[in-house]
């Protein structure tokens, strides 16, 4: 079974630039998550999709972050414009159907904003 795929693995941008991350979840998984993880901290949920609908985006900074999940499969997370404090690892995870099931994580994208 193929795991969760993410790209790119690393990205360095200057503040005020824009950046996009891509995630392909495990086939058949209805729920897709985007997390932000700052060094030394636990993952912080940014947005949760159930199929192609948003379940929770309460912690997504909507003035600069946006996410979509087209056709309930792949997803993209965008930051525009980036700030220094956005430097973090962005993790994508998927699960069969919500928080009652284990989550499978991708390798993450390490973003550095200079």
């Amino acid at each position: 079974e193929a795991g969760v795929a993410q790209s790119p693995r690393y990205k360095i941008i200057e503040k005020r630039q824009s950046v996009a991350f891509w995630c392909n979840p495990i086939s058949g998984h209805a729920t897709l998550y985007w997390y932000q993880q700052i060094l030394g901290q636990g993952p912080k949920l940014l947005i949760q999709f159930q199929n192609n609908g948003v379940v929770d985006d309460s912690q997504l900074p909507k003035d600069r972050f946006s996410a979509e999940r087209l056709k309930g499969v792949d997803s993209t997370l965008k930051i525009q414009p980036a700030k220094l404090e956005d430097s973090a690892v962005y993790l994508c995870a998927s699960s069969l159907a919500g928080a009652a099931y284990e989550q499978y994580f991708g390798p993450g994208t390490r973003l550095t904003v200079t």
């Binding site: 030394g40 949920l45 929770d56 009652a100 099931y101 284990e102 499978y104 991708g106």
Partner: protein
């Protein structure tokens, strides 16, 4: 917001010893999950325990859950160097079905 709190924040033991980590949470939950994160394999699911379960085993892992105290513990027996990682608990809040994560325990196994 993060409701799970792992204790201790860091733990260093000799290879072969047992490691115990604790997680406390604040709200009523459906289940509690433990994950491991190391640089080589990223975040990996270890075990899920439901609110009506008190103990669960998986290989060298033993998880207990006490819903009256809103706490869980993860025991790793006969530790190995490969167990060096950060361990996180995540709780599934009954009110919003959101998985909420703690800050993690950093475990170092000394050879």
């Amino acid at each position: 917001s993060q409701q799970g709190e792992e204790d201790p924040q860091a733990l260093s033991i000799q290879e072969g010893e047992n490691a115990t980590m604790n997680c406390s949470y604040k709200t009523s939950i459906n289940n509690l999950q433990w994950y491991r994160q190391n640089s080589g394999r990223g975040l990996v699911h270890l075990i899920l325990i439901r609110s009506n379960e008190r103990e669960k085993h998986s290989g060298r892992l033993r998880v207990t859950l006490d819903t009256s105290k809103k706490s869980s513990s993860l025991l790793i027996t006969a530790s190995r160097a490969a167990d060096t990682a950060s361990y996180f608990c995540a709780t599934d809040d009954v009110s919003n079905y959101q998985l909420i994560w703690g800050a993690g325990t950093k475990l170092i196994i000394k050879p």
